[in-house]
């Protein structure tokens, strides 16, 4: 494992062109040990291209990608030992049982036979898949196959796990289990790069988010930072002690902003909710007015940004920036 102080994944000005089409355009990002990066973007945004470059399946046109200091193109063999990759397509072999399947990949990674047997048992346990070790791989359900896919990526104990759509097609129960597995892996100090279209799911597990669109990095940071960057309005809630005070608070908020601030009242929750682009100074002034009024409030809080909203903002921004008639 690499030292904690050095970045584990370094992507610098990564560009990939297929003829005239630019799949990746000067993409740069850095990840530290233990980070879980949610890598999101619309279809064809460049996520899979980035991932394929990181695992050595695609050569970049320019720029560089390094895993634990090793260049993904020049030191491809070393990088393969450092990275565990789960593509969106499972890649099963007919007539192979789960244990045989994992044993084969363990042998392919050069793990000695005795150590391999222990390792296979370990990864099956980590992914809660020990009970399916004698089942045929192709007879497993999608969710089970995804677990075996993760077990396969863990065989050689890599520093970095790159998972392409691990939650795709999973039922809610399997999704919860997948989330637990990923969080457990991150807690072991591994760096995870996870792509998904299920944004609420990503928001729950990722401590950092990168949004790409048209091959460009539109936003990178913590969930709060990204939603802050991409969504101009923040959502606040004022919780009142008694619901009969809600109209008064609502009036204060409306009169304070005098603009298109959206204000709504939830009588059942006893909450006045509003979305605004106002600065923190203005908000503290609003809070002061509410407190000075006769209303009894118990909470004034900002809600964590919505990743879906940020995603849509990013993709809309890139769509409006795209020249008319541009085609892939």
């Amino acid at each position: 494992m690499s030292s904690a102080s050095n970045p584990v994944v370094e992507i610098e000005k990564l560009t990939k062109r297929y003829g005239e089409f630019v799949a990746l355009d000067n993409l740069s990002l850095t990840l530290n040990r233990g980070d879980i990066l949610g890598f999101i973007g619309p279809n064809g945004a460049g996520k899979t291209t980035t991932i394929r470059i990181l695992v050595g399946l695609t050569r970049p046109t320019s720029g560089s990608a390094r895993i634990a200091g090793s260049d993904c193109v020049a030191d491809a063999r070393k990088v393969r030992q450092l990275v565990g990759y789960m593509p969106d397509k499972f890649g099963s072999y007919d007539n192979m049982r789960v244990r045989e399947y994992l044993d084969f990949f363990g042998a392919a990674y050069g793990i000695a036979r005795k150590q391999r047997q222990l390792r296979v048992a370990e990864v099956l346990e980590v992914t809660n898949a020990t009970w399916m070790q004698d089942r045929y791989v192709e007879s497993l359900s999608h969710g089970m196959q995804q677990r075996i896919g993760i077990a396969r990526t863990l065989l050689h104990n890599p520093d970095v796990l790159i998972l392409d759509e691990p939650a795709n097609g999973l039922d809610p129960q399997a999704r919860i289990e997948m989330r637990e597995i990923l969080l457990r892996l991150a807690s072991e100090g591994r760096t995870l790069i996870v792509t998904s279209h299920i944004l609420p799911e990503l928001a729950r597990i990722c401590d950092r988010v990168a949004i790409v669109a048209n091959g460009q990095l539109k936003a990178l940071g913590t969930l709060k930072e990204v939603t802050g960057q991409l969504t101009q309005r923040r959502t606040f809630e004022v919780q009142c002690l008694q619901s009969d005070q809600l109209p008064a608070v609502e009036n204060i908020v409306k009169q304070f902003f005098h603009d298109d601030t959206e204000v709504s009242v939830s009588t059942a929750e006893g909450i006045v909710r509003f979305r605004t682009s106002a600065s923190d100074e203005l908000l503290s002034e609003l809070l002061k007015q509410i407190v000075n009024s006769s209303s009894l409030i118990t909470q004034f809080r900002e809600l964590v940004g919505d990743l879906e909203e940020a995603f849509i903002s990013a993709t809309q921004m890139s769509a409006s920036a795209e020249p008319a008639g541009a085609a892939k």
Binding site: V83, Y85, G91, D103, A107
Partner: protein, 554 residues
């Protein structure tokens, strides 16, 4: 019937829209044009006797049969399986269409394709007719009618296989295997048993009537044919038509009865492991299987190429327990044949026995190899396994070695199975030693060439079905196609030309080495070794470069 047309209207354009179809039609048109051009009189004036036209007609007829045998089985065989896999069969079975309509719709669409394929041959046939000497109604129309019947038989055979197969690859393997058996294997016993009295001779005679080749040769009325034993007083053409008609009717009924929900309801074994069974069950399985495929396997040993082990464990076709049975069968058959000769119960002679063993072995190689090697790379591409292999530290050469060795070992086991037979032959006739060694070299070359050809083809395709089809086509052309030229020696092909063509076929080299009937007059060894050996080297280099390229980052 309206429903049949609905299906046909969807199926036929789908067949015609594919790029493969365009290439097939272009290739057929080119080959037929070339055939006529080669036979066209140099002076521009055809002989009055009509010999040139007849020779051209004969070549065109044989090419037409070869073309439909190589092309047609792939379409019906994969049609049903692909529908089941894409789950469009569910939609069809849930629609108001009747099973009969689904079947006839598919058959009509395929017959439509056959008609288009035959239309492509019309310009060449028109040129041949223009040369004079052949009758429009007695020759041309009858030939086209006959080819349509053969196609109908192959379509029914293909659909029938498709209703049993679980994957496009297995459908292709079985369809080509059955076609090969129907067209070529049915002729083999007669080749060796002609003139024999008793049940063996009778069965061999009956069997050959099932082959369209026999009927076609009679249709061509070729008295000059040197194909041993094919000239006869029997009406072989009518006999074939009867057998084809019975096959089409019975086959269609079976096909229609199988087009139901059972196609969609094939549960996959969850994998009961032998180690978890009772002691009695374990004992029975140990005796029955020798190598039990259901037992819990130990890890791959460190010294073994993991790809080699994976290939043996993952493939359905050619798994060890089946191979052992196959090899045991081969060994027993070759021993029995040889013993029968030794003990004088059958007056065949070593050459005839050797010929049977050689043809049987090469037939096995041709049936087994594309099935195992056709999906070697293409199957990995299709399943997404190739990218997983690429991200492991395995080198391109190690992957290739593992894959090639997995098939080569199997083929060598098949070849080794006949060694006892050859050993007995040498014991009977010690001066045969040199010949047997030559035969074995030819057989090894046949196996290596088949393997490298199929593997190279596989590396250029992204689906197993396409790679397997092309591999079968090439191997059947090499091993059976060249024998068609041999079967037509002197009419129209001369001895020199036949010898040149047979030099490409290492099986012909083996038959020549053992001095099998019909092959004594050639001098193929060692020329066939050089040609096959060079082809193997070229294919290996191409394959290595291709695999290296596929392992590089895109």
């Amino acid at each position: 019937m309206k429903g049949s047309l609905v299906i046909a209207e969807r199926e036929l354009p789908a067949i015609l829209r594919s790029r493969q179809t365009v290439w097939i039609l272009l290739a057929v048109a080119s080959i037929f044009a070339a055939t006529v051009l080669l036979k066209w009189p140099e002076s521009g004036v055809a002989s009055l006797s009509g010999d040139q036209a007849k020779a051209t007609f004969r070549s065109l007829a044989l090419s037409m049969l070869a073309a439909v045998v190589l092309i047609i089985p792939a379409f019906p065989a994969t049609g049903i399986v692909v529908e089941v896999r894409r789950r469009t069969m569910e939609l069809l079975l849930n629609s108001p269409l009747r099973r009969f309509e689904i079947f006839t719709g598919k058959a009509i669409a395929l017959l439509g394709f056959v008609l288009i394929l035959l239309t492509v041959t019309l310009p060449a046939m028109a040129c041949c007719y223009a040369m004079g000497g052949i009758s429009f109604t007695n020759d041309v129309l009858v030939l086209y009618g006959f080819i349509v019947i053969v196609c109908l038989q192959l379509i029914v055979l293909g659909v029938l296989v498709g209703t049993f197969a679980g994957s496009p690859e297995s459908a292709l393997r079985c369809a080509y295997g059955c076609t090969f058996a129907l067209v070529v294997v049915t002729l083999i016993p007669w080749q060796f048993l002609q003139g024999f009295e008793g049940w063996m001779g009778n069965y061999a005679g009956l069997l050959r009537k099932l082959s369209p080749i026999t009927a076609l040769l009679e249709l061509l009325n070729d008295s000059g044919l040197e194909t041993v034993g094919l000239s006869t007083q029997e009406n072989l053409f009518a006999a074939y038509l009867w057998s084809a008609a019975i096959f089409v009717v019975v086959g269609s009924i079976v096909c229609i009865s199988r087009l139901n929900y059972s196609l969609l309801d094939r549960s996959r074994s969850q994998g009961v492991i032998t180690d978890d069974r009772t002691a009695a069950a374990r004992s029975v399985r140990r005796v029955f299987f020798l190598i039990d495929p259901q037992r819990r396997k130990a890890g791959i040993p460190g010294f073994l190429n993991p790809v080699l082990a994976k290939e043996f464990r993952s493939r359905q076709f050619g798994r060890l327990h089946w191979l052992l049975r196959l090899i045991a069968g081969c060994a027993v058959m070759s021993l029995l044949l040889t013993l029968a000769t030794t003990m004088g119960t059958v007056d065949w002679g070593v050459e005839r026995i050797g010929g049977i063993i050689i043809v049987a072995q090469v037939a096995l190689i041709v049936v087994l190899t594309p099935g195992m090697a056709g999906g070697m790379i293409a199957g990995e591409m299709e399943s997404g396994g190739w990218n997983l292999l690429r991200v492991t530290p395995l080198s391109a050469s190690k992957i290739l070695r593992g894959k090639l060795m997995s098939v080569m070992l199997t083929l060598m086991l098949v070849l080794c199975a006949s060694l006892p037979g050859y050993a007995i032959m040498m014991a009977i006739k010690p001066d045969l030693q040199q010949q047997v060694i030559q035969v074995l070299v030819c057989l090894v070359l046949s196996a290596v060439l088949s393997l490298l050809l199929s593997a190279t083809v596989s590396s250029f395709f992204k689906t197993t079905a396409a790679a397997t089809t092309v591999s079968y086509g090439l191997l059947i052309t090499l091993f059976a196609g060249t024998l068609i030229v041999w079967a037509n020696m002197n009419a129209p092909f001369g001895h020199y030309f036949v010898e040149q063509v047979l030099s490409l076929n290492p099986m012909a080299g083996a038959l020549n080495a053992i001095r099998a009937e019909g092959f004594e007059s050639f001098n193929l060894v060692p020329r066939t070794w050089w040609i096959s050996g060079s082809a193997c080297v070229v294919l290996l280099v191409v394959l290595q470069l291709r695999i290296r390229h596929l392992c590089q980052p895109d």
